[in-house]
Amino acid sequence: MSKTITIDGLEIPFQEGQTIMDAAIDADIYIPHLCHNPDYEPHGSCKLCTVKVNGRNCSACTFPATEGQDIINNSDDLAHNRKRITQMLFVEGNHFCPSCEKTGNCQLQGVAYYLDMHDNHFPHFFTNRKMDASHPDILIDHNRCIFCNLCVRASQEKDHKNVFAISGRGINKRLIINSRSGQLKDSDIDLHDCAAHICPTGAILIKRTGYQVPIGQRIYDQQKIDEVALAKENKHHGR
């Protein structure tokens, strides 16, 4: 007999070694997330996937599922906090959706739609971040980086390189490039690397591919992020 956990009153099975997020995805339950991608080691930093496990806040993407856990994923409180955390990410960087090539395909934006976010709530930091357009094929706009660490993990785990790293402390956190000059053009990155395509926002873009799909016809223009995420992350979704 398989072991089970309960999410919002629904009993679902899990395999030993799975996190709450893994079990939820398998059961076709969406828990909002940005730094998590099932193809990579869980990171647990964005805190969007915070759920209540037996009354205690835990990150679903890193917390192991254990028999009998009573988990709350959908509540007004959690939804409100998730919205606030998303707003924090918006004010920390410089996100101007209407002028961003990623608009409509951006997970940060998709999550914001899903959480019914209509304003930034918090004061902006207006931080001064640079762009790195040095590479012939790949552009980095640090203004849009949310420190999900996915490019770092993709480069290490899938590309077996070490192109990206997180540096700085606290609010001075920043994404750095592993090259002598610090520029992307001098790094080991290749256009076909997973790391070049993993960014959930518009921080890492491929040059000369912009605006091929008109705004209005893009992913989150048409579908909510819960549907999109489950379709991608759950093999049995929709069956």
Partner: protein, 593 residues
């Protein structure tokens, strides 16, 4: 450059876990770590240059661009402020002709702030090239400025500038009589492994860092892990502002602390231990190394300890200025030569700690107590204190009192008793447990220091009626924003937002709704952050907001909305560009009738 850098790399066996120690050496020699040095270390240690850059940017005492040949850091602890730090800092800057946070053009001197340096009982305090300076005053600053201008090496400066006193005023079970070196280890082997652990269990000893996990349970969990390579770590990264007891314990009771670690190692089966010493206590380093050497010579450390076929050694690793490294999993990351980012838990360090091997991390005071319990037996300790908090607690008392220093009491002592003993008059309130603890009002002095009531890692800062509560809260809130590691969103962005929102209110730009917004933000940061730093960063605001809401409300303007900046002042540039200064070129924020 190459010869020195190569020699420090060699000294540390080109081991990646020694990265912080290597970078400390290079920083001390060249006042920064150059791009060239980064490349050299990366190649020698076979790690990515980005790991080195990220470590340099993470720790306050490491720099990629040069600091002064004399690098002065002045402690920013609230207690230093209460002793006139701000004035002294300005005076220092003017005497040395250097701006705060900058390097003087000739490269001779740099001056900056640093988080609490652990000298709250003898401030205003600071650090020069990492070495602790105490009792700073104008006279001393004049002398220091002169020594610097004459480029006198620090080793030749007057010794009294660097004098650090213990200031022990109240002793009890632990401080009264240190054990004789080796006594705990002998008792441990006479009694046996299980029996010794049982005594630790009977004693009821709980972790003295503040969290209060049962020590015997931690040691047992670690010893039961399947993996047999295990480690003992002593957490001497005492960064909580207002705490300095570990400094005293390591200065005067180090033998007993090391003995506690050794007893632990013999129980859990470890062969290697580490003392993670905060960088601010560099002045203790040589002394502690000598004590370790002494212990090796007397057969209490090293190979075949007490002829029991037991091998264990202790290595001292210095931190580089990061409060977060007091969190045990961040400390372990730091020990491994990385940025101090708290790990996801589970797994806990007892299962997967240093190098992902089972590791016991305990506070300095915990090891000190464990050593004596091993000699005296568990009941001796359990007889003292309260039901859930056995034994004694060593407090670091500072702030407005006649005798700031170290006080040891049985758990359950009232706040009032401590205030009486240290000579505190005209008390306004007390910060118990440091900024991450609780601010209590003078009405609450009957409350008890114990896990049942006011849990504390030992910081006890007293404020008299002349102090402004919002100044205190501001200092603490800025501290957390500065020390947030930046890993998780709620703490990284949240602590900076807390700082902005609090400053908006205290600077007089707050309006109706801003206190409510502040409180909401506090709850968000508290409930969603990854580790204890973020979970407690809002405590200074929350605990004072609960007790003194009127102080916050009084700061608010009597209008429904006020921008978080001076509207008219922001137009100054525009006025200058337009060459106008007439009434129409000014804006005023009008209050509601």
């Amino acid at each position: 450059m190459q010869t020195f850098t190569q020699s420090t790399i060699d000294k540390h066996k080109a081991s990646p876990v020694q990265l912080l120690q290597i970078l400390r050496d290079i920083q001390a020699e060249y006042q920064h770590i150059s791009a060239e040095a980064i490349e050299m270390v990366a190649t020698a240690l076979n790690i990515a240059r980005t790991q080195i850059i990220s470590v340099i940017e993470f720790y306050s005492f490491l720099h990629a661009s040069p600091t002064g040949k004399y690098d002065l850091l002045i402690s920013d602890s609230i207690t230093d402020h209460m002793l006139g730090k701000q004035n002294l800092m300005t005076y220092f800057a003017s005497q040395l002709n250097v701006s705060i946070g900058e390097l003087r053009a000739d490269g001779l001197v740099s001056l900056n702030n640093t988080s609490c340096s652990g000298m709250c009982d003898q401030g205003p305090a600071g650090l020069v090239n990492g070495y602790a300076l105490t009792h700073l005053d104008r006279q001393r600053i004049d002398a220091i400025a002169q020594l610097i201008e004459q480029q006198i090496p620090i080793k030749q400066w007057p010794a009294e500038f660097f004098t650090v006193n213990d200031n022990i005023y109240q002793t009890d079970l632990l401080l009264q009589e240190p054990i004789e070196s080796g006594a705990a280890l002998k008792a441990r082997y006479q009694r046996g492994l299980t029996e010794t652990l049982t005594e630790i269990d009977i004693s009821g000893l709980r972790g003295r860092g503040g969290a209060g996990f049962k020590t015997a349970m931690k040691w047992r969990f670690c010893s039961e892990e399947a993996e047999t390579e295990r480690y003992v770590v002593c957490n001497a990264d005492e960064g909580e502002p207002g705490t300095f007891k570990d400094r005293v314990l390591l200065n005067s009771y180090a033998h007993q602390v090391f003995e506690g670690m050794t007893v632990c190692a013999s129980i859990i089966g470890a062969t290697q231990g580490f003392l993670y010493l905060r960088g601010e206590y560099l002045h203790l380093y040589d002394k502690l190394e000598n004590i370790l050497q002494e212990r090796r010579s007397s057969g209490l450390l090293g190979n075949n300890i007490l002829h029991q076929d037991f091998n264990f050694d202790i290595e001292i690793r210095l931190g580089c200025g990061a409060y977060i490294c007091g969190e045990e999993s961040a400390l372990i990351e730091s020990l491994e030569g990385k940025r101090g980012i708290p790990r996801n838990r589970p797994p806990y360090p007892v299962a997967q700690g240093y190098l992902h091997k089972p590791t016991v991390v305990n506070n300095v005071e915990t090891f000190l107590a464990a050593a004596k319990i091993t000699v005296q037996g568990g009941q001796w300790f359990a007889d003292v204190g309260t039901e859930q908090s056995q034994g004694t607690k060593i407090l670091s008392v500072s702030g407005d009192c006649a005798r700031p220093g170290i006080y040891e009491y049985p758990f359950g002592v009232t706040v009032e008793q401590v205030l009486d003993d240290c000579g505190a008059l005209d008390v306004l309130g007390i910060q118990v447990g440091g900024p991450s603890g609780t601010f209590i009002d003078k009405q609450e002095i009957q409350r008890k220091l114990a896990f049942e009531d006011l849990a504390t890692g030992g910081s006890f800062i007293i404020f008299n009626q002349s102090r402004n509560i919002l100044d205190i809260v501001k200092n603490f809130t800025h501290f957390f924003a500065h020390e947030s590691c930046g890993f998780c969103t709620p703490c990284r962005v949240g602590t900076s937002l807390l700082k902005k929102q609090l400053d908006k209110i205290t600077d007089g730009y707050g309006s109706a709704g801003d206190v409510v917004a502040l409180e909401e933000l506090c709850q968000l940061v508290k409930n969603n952050s990854h580790c204890g730093l973020g979970q407690t960063a809002a405590n200074p605001i929350l605990s004072t907001l609960e007790r003194y809401p009127e102080f916050y409300q009084q700061q608010l303007k009597d209008i429904s909305y006020e921008p978080g900046f001076d509207l008219d002042a922001s137009l100054a540039t525009a006025r200058r560009l337009a060459n106008r200064d007439d009434a129409g070129a000014h804006l005023t924020q009008v209050g509601e009738d």
